[in-house]
């Protein structure tokens, strides 16, 4: 069982594209106007994965520690940028805090994974470092976006509550704690739900891949469990760090949110008082 999955021929790949006929027909039938989006999406997937296939091949062939680490740092930089792009935060001031928040837990957890869970001799072996790293990062991305968006949008919406707590003696960390709690809870909920239902209906992609690649199911299951736990740990730690470290930049020395940290200036909700006075004036 160890020679890996059967390679797919060019004709096989053309057949796989043939599956697109189904969504196309339905799109036309229901006038969804998605044809262009589907074409672009498919095209990007093919090109991006082809590029990944080529450079992963190169990375695995050389298996050079420095090359592997540089690759990891570059994908963490790209992840950090994508996270910021999906929030209302400005890229330039936020890139460093977000990058640090991701690089620290991920590096530690990947090395922990390689050293203690898989127990391999070369902790920086491309096959493990890059695949495990990629899986952790991909999963953290969505979680960190949820956490950051929830945190900052709630802080804007309930800015008066935050300021009231500052006025009652809270320091910045104390006054933002309820906002932090809510955003991390919301971000972790999908992962906890996935862990609770995994395997009931669908087979996780990683496990399927491993079985096709020649692993026995039990090995694939062990990897799946370990990777889920690693994802969960990396997500929790990076959630906390992205919020706490970005706060160092997002608040001024008076502990007030800096509007210039946000791409679209947060819409200031008129206070209830203002609304009342407007009603009174008319």
């Amino acid at each position: 069982m160890s020679q890996g999955a059967i390679d797919i021929s060019i004709i096989g790949m053309i057949y796989s594209l043939g599956l697109l006929i189904i969504p196309f027909l339905i799109t036309i039938y229901l006038k969804l106007q998605l044809t262009k989006d589907i074409l672009i999406g498919t095209f990007r997937m093919v090109i991006q994965l082809a590029v990944v296939g080529v450079y992963l091949g190169v990375l695995f062939e050389y298996n050079n520690i420095l090359l592997n680490i540089s690759y990891l740092i570059i994908i963490i930089l790209i992840t950090s940028g994508s996270i910021i792009q999906k929030t209302n935060l400005k890229l330039k001031p936020m890139l460093l805090p977000i990058f640090i928040s991701i690089v620290i837990p991920h590096t530690l957890i990947i090395l922990y994974f390689n050293a203690f869970i898989v127990n391999i001799a070369n902790l920086f072996d491309a096959i493990y470092l890059i695949t495990i790293g990629g899986m952790l990062l991909g999963n953290c991305l969505s979680g960190n976006i949820i956490a950051l968006n929830t945190y900052y949008s709630n802080l804007h919406k309930q800015n008066n509550t935050y300021l009231t707590m500052l006025g009652l003696g809270a320091n910045r960390n104390e006054a933002t704690l309820p906002f932090l709690q809510e955003s991390i809870k919301l971000s972790l909920a999908p992962t906890i739900a996935t862990m609770a239902t995994i395997g009931l209906v669908s087979l996780p992609g990683m496990m399927t891949g491993q079985i096709l690649g020649g692993s026995i199911p039990l090995t694939a299951v062990k990897y799946q469990i370990a990777i889920m736990l690693a994802i969960f740990a990396a997500k929790t730690a990076s959630n906390l760090l992205v919020i706490r470290l970005s706060s160092h930049v997002a608040f001024d020395s008076y502990d007030v949110l800096k509007p210039e940290m946000f791409r679209t200036p947060p819409k200031k909700q008129p206070s209830k008082k203002k609304i009342r006075s407007l009603i009174k004036d008319n």
């Binding site: 009231t164 006025g167 008076y254 007030v256």
Partner: protein, 215 residues
């Protein structure tokens, strides 16, 4: 003592809110800020708290100039309660516990049950209110909780922004009398006539203090 020295404040694309504003408030004074809507009454309180920074000028609180080094100490000398008493959604008891657990408040002793109950009954609340969540309370109930917090924390300077607007006449009078009986410095904003009628109140029309005018 609080003093505003030549304070100017303007937002981009908006008219100047303050232009060379000067005002001095002695310790223990009870000030009622007056001025048309939009004249910057609330902004003045927020400047003391460092929530809004003046474009120019200095603010002194008890001889300390307000800046990023002093703001945290200065904030601990102030209590600010706004009309809406925006509090996080938690039970009043949890809120009290949270506030008394803040690092800056650890030197304070949480109120004895008896003291708390007396305060609650002064403001016609029963101890059962402690179990209720802040978002379940009416505007008037939240204002009373805000007033009770002000009494409990007993900071030297009280900034009270329309905190009696949702109370009935009897409670308004009781609250205003209790607050003004204290030795604390008070800056209040209110449309309730009971404030301006109180003998201890000095009414300050803030528009008269712009352009270097006023005492």
């Amino acid at each position: 003592m609080i003093s505003f020295h030549n304070i100017s404040l303007s937002y981009p694309h908006e008219k100047k809110i303050f232009d060379c504003f000067n005002l001095t408030i002695q310790q223990g004074e009870k000030i009622l800020l007056k001025g048309p809507s939009g004249s910057g009454k609330t902004t003045l309180l927020k400047m003391l708290l460092g929530y809004v920074k003046p474009t120019q000028g200095t603010i002194l609180i008890d001889d300390k100039e307000l800046n990023s080094n002093t703001i945290h100490d200065i904030r601990q000398r102030l209590s600010y309660i706004s009309q809406d008493v925006d509090l996080p959604d938690m039970s009043i008891q949890t809120l009290l516990d949270t506030i008394y657990h803040y690092q800056a408040n650890t030197s304070l002793h949480p109120p004895e049950e008896e003291q708390l109950n007396t305060l609650l009954s002064t403001y016609k609340l029963t101890p059962s209110v402690l179990k209720q969540h802040t978002h379940q309370l009416s505007g008037g109930e939240r204002q009373r909780i805000g007033i009770i917090l002000t009494h409990l924390l007993n900071r030297p300077i009280w900034l009270l922004d329309e905190i009696t607007s949702a109370l009935d006449t009897e409670l308004k009078t009781a609250a205003i009398t209790n607050l003004l009986e204290s030795n604390n410095t008070i800056l209040a904003i209110s449309h309730d006539p009971q404030w301006s009628a109180h003998p201890k109140i000095r009414t300050v029309d803030i528009s008269a203090h712009n352009n270097g005018g006023g005492p």
